[in-house]
Amino acid sequence: MQTQTHVAHAMTVTFIGRLDAFSASMHHAQLDTLVQAGVRHFVLDLAGVEFLDSAGLAVCVRVLKRVQQDDGSVKMVLPELVAARRILYLARFDRIFEIVASSAEPGEENVYV
């Protein structure tokens, strides 16, 4: 028996600053563009997020729901800011997303938004 391992490279999307109601529509559009281009595996890097609100949570869930329809995946790097991290735990994002320590893996593509 032979087995093959298929490694699906993920697209890392790095968020900096505010991920909130004002910026959400821009982030939705950017992630939609990537999904339409065929990206199915994402790492959402929120390490540099300084303010996260319910619209920011929605940005993350929306892309997850979209790629899950095509067997895609979304991993998440939590914010360094403790208060923002608590909001994600409050919304139980640690159960919805696979939490990873860092998005820095060789071979992955990166997009900064």
């Binding site: 505010r18 909130d20 109601a21 004002f22 303010f51 609100d53 319910s54 619209a55 949570l57 929605a58 869930v61 929306r62 997850l64 729901k65 800011l81 403790v82 208060a83 923002a84 608590r86 909001i87 409050l90 919304a91 139980r92 994002f93 159960r95 919805i96």
Partner: protein, 148 residues
């Protein structure tokens, strides 16, 4: 029931009146941060400041996106923030002239599934100590309070 809110205003009161558009909401957050920065003996001011900013921000977002219609003119939000001494707390009142808020239309988020809508008021209720809404003759009134 004891409430942190009373109707009197003291010297430590700050009033803001802003256009009901998303781009101005960070102005409210900045004011909250500066007001709280003057409070002494808070164990984790960074987290406290963030959570109060978030609570107010979510109510403002709700007003912008749901209370006011596109056609409505003079869309404004009036915010009053007052520092109280006994018990030490920040009391915030937000007024708008939009549509009545209907509590029964808001469903609790399904946290284990994740959803695109419905986190806003859930977050407010979890980060603030008091959250009340009332429809008054002069408009919609939200009262928030956070012990410091």
């Amino acid at each position: 029931m004891n409430t942190l809110h009373t109707n009197c205003e003291g010297d430590e009161t700050l009033r803001l009146e802003l256009p009901a558009t998303l781009k101005y909401l960070n102005v409210v957050g900045a004011c909250v941060a500066e007001m709280l920065a003057q409070v002494e003996d808070v164990a984790d001011m960074a987290t406290l400041s963030y959570t109060v900013q978030l609570g107010i921000h979510e109510i403002c977002t709700n007003i912008v996106q749901h209370a006011y219609t596109q056609q409505q003119e003079h869309k404004r939000i009036a915010v009053t923030m007052e520092m109280r001494a006994q018990p030490r707390c920040l009391c915030v009142t937000l007024w708008d002239n939009g549509k009545h808020f209907e509590q029964s239309e808001v469903q609790e988020p399904l946290l284990d599934e994740g959803q695109v809508h419905g986190y806003g008021l859930f977050l407010v209720r979890n980060v603030m100590d008091e959250v009340t809404y009332s429809r008054q003759p002069e408009g919609n009134c939200w009262r928030l309070a956070k012990k410091l």
